[in-house]
């Protein structure tokens, strides 16, 4: 197996700020997952969320990947939804039709997604960015993201800290937060400091880590958001979680 960087062997002070931010965002998202739920997992940070859920508070959650892999133990980071490491830790090698059928039938409790941009309506963009000079930059596209956003019973988005990704209006709506029938759409977005829900199409700061100040977080984004009257203050991830996240992100 390859390493993309050298693991820190449990020395938390040498973990990079970027990895720490990802671990905090993923841990925050994992607090939205209940044990025994079925998760449709996207590639990237969503895999870290699934990993942290599975190896901590939600050991019996069921992971499904769009390639058709089911009942996966997500021990190391997969680069694609069919990667060898998750294929080896799957209880079933199904097809894409199998898992998207489950999604369409309403059998997926939570879709875990990330995106290039999220806006204050909860719409997601993974298709193209428009620069300030008006130039269009292509991105790889929806993949299954649009399908998950429309069809999962609830969608949890996880984003790295970069505030430029939190925009008033996305450049392109790949995955709309317009619930189909009784499906929930995008329930909220986890970031390294906090979790915002979308209520009546507007973002609400719902959870923060106890080492952050709600007003500062609420004002840090270019969003017309407010702090929930029932704001939850939770403990940041303990060291063992951060070490486990670091190991997951640096080995594949």
């Amino acid at each position: 197996m390859n390493n993309t960087s050298t693991p820190t062997n449990g020395n938390i002070s040498s973990i990079s700020a970027e990895i720490l931010a990802q671990a905090r965002a993923a841990f925050m998202a994992a607090t939205e997952i209940q044990d025994n739920q079925t998760l449709f997992v996207g590639i990237g940070l969503p895999c870290l969320v699934a990993h942290l859920a599975q190896f901590n508070a939600s050991p019996n959650c069921h992971l499904v990947f769009e390639s058709g892999l089911m009942e996966v133990m997500c021990k190391t980071q997969p680069l694609s939804t069919a990667s060898e490491n998750i294929a080896r830790n799957a209880k079933m090698h199904g097809s894409m039709l199998d898992v998207f059928s489950m999604l369409q039938r309403g059998e997926i409790d939570i879709g875990l997604l990330s995106a290039a941009q999220i806006d204050e309506n909860g719409h997601l963009n993974s298709s193209k960015l428009v620069t300030k000079s008006g130039k269009t930059v292509a991105l790889p596209g929806s993949g299954g993201a649009h399908d998950i956003s429309v069809l999962a019973n609830k969608v949890i988005v996880v984003m790295p800290s970069d505030p430029r990704r939190f925009v008033k209006k996305v450049d392109f709506i790949t995955s709309p937060n317009n619930p189909y029938a009784n499906r929930g759409g995008v329930a909220g977005v986890a970031m390294p400091d906090a979790f915002f829900t979308f209520v009546g199409g507007k973002p609400v700061l719902q959870k923060i880590y106890s080492d952050r100040i709600a007003e500062e977080i609420n004002n840090s984004l270019d969003w017309d958001s407010h702090i929930s009257p029932t704001l939850e203050i939770i403990s940041p991830p303990p060291n063992n979680i951060i070490i486990s996240a670091e190991k997951f992100l640096t080995q594949y």
Binding site: S95, M96, S127, D147, V150, L151, A181
Partner: protein, 291 residues
């Protein structure tokens, strides 16, 4: 009995025509690189490629000038980055890109497999992708009067796939992650399949649960060990992660892409010669280990 076993050269010459719609099998796994190499080597052109998520094998076909259009839900180097080659081809007007979603592509291929004109689904009703991909139009359910989107059937002219093994008649056994491979094959008019090895028909009869396509659907059968390299094949070999990791920098600029294509394809008479030119022991090191 018709002899379906042939070289990749014969199979591509015989069964792929310019302007064909071609489905490429394999999804992160079992990607038919050897057949794709041969398509590029024979300079096929104006192909319409269809796929859910298009991996870097599409870079070969697009850089080789084989495709004039691509209909897919995603394209790039999975978990690593963008496809510079496809982005350049789209920007220069050499490739028409029809962006959809992975589920819409599965539904369209499944409709093709079922022999029905479309399949309804609520996806692609909203957002900026809605109504933009060709082959998706709004309809009303005749039973419930609820709105749906009709995802129209795709029936590719030919599917190319790679699998672990087959008997000489072409009963194909593929296991591990199959992704969209079956939907694509069963929607297609013709199937070209490369396999690692030919086994006996007795071995197939002893393991019919592994057979994914019956012989009567197969047009051409190619014996090509490591035919999915640099992707992986379950129980046979692992992915060459270094190849995928270096792909972005080797294809970032047009000139670099050209020399990458030379070294990968044009300098070799066939896929075996390409494999022989790889560093010593590399394929040995990639062999599947049950660890």
């Amino acid at each position: 009995m018709i002899n379906k076993i042939m070289t990749a050269q014969q199979a591509v010459e015989t069964y792929i025509d310019n302007y064909d719609t071609v489905f490429i099998g394999g999804f992160g796994h079992a990607i038919p690189f050897a057949i794709a190499h041969e398509i590029v080597r024979q300079e096929k052109h104006d192909l319409h490629l269809v796929k859910t998520g298009a991996d870097i094998v599409f870079d070969l076909l697009v850089a080789g000038g084989c495709a004039s259009s691509l209909t897919c839900g995603w394209y790039g180097n999975p978990g690593i980055g963008m496809s510079h080659i496809i982005s350049r081809a789209v920007a220069s007007g050499n490739l028409n890109l029809y962006e959809s979603t992975n589920f819409s592509m599965i539904l369209r291929l499944h409709a093709g497999k079922l022999g029905v004109p479309f399949i309804p689904s609520p996806i692609l009703a909203d957002g900026d992708l809605a109504n933009s991909p060709p082959g998706v139009k709004p309809i009303i359910c005749p039973f419930t009067q609820k709105p749906y989107q009709a995802h129209s059937a795709i029936n590719p002219d030919v599917a190319i796939i790679h699998a672990q093994r087959a008997d000489k008649n072409g009963n194909i056994q593929l296991w591990g992650s199959v992704g969209d491979t079956l939907e694509g094959c069963e929607a297609s008019q013709k199937i070209i399949c490369s396999v690692e090895e030919i086994c006996t028909s007795d071995e197939i009869e002893n393991s019919p649960h592994l057979t994914i396509l019956p012989e009567h659907k197969i047009d051409a059968l190619i014996v090509q060990p490591f035919g999915a390299y640099p992707s992986y094949l379950y129980d046979y070999y692992q992915r060459d992660n270094d190849y995928y990791n270096s792909h972005g920098s080797l294809t970032k600029q047009a000139e670099e892409s050209e020399s990458w294509l030379q070294q990968t394809i044009y300098q070799h008479a066939d896929f075996d010669s390409y494999l022989k030119a790889l560093p010593d022991q590399m394929l040995n090191q990639l062999k599947w280990r049950n660890s």
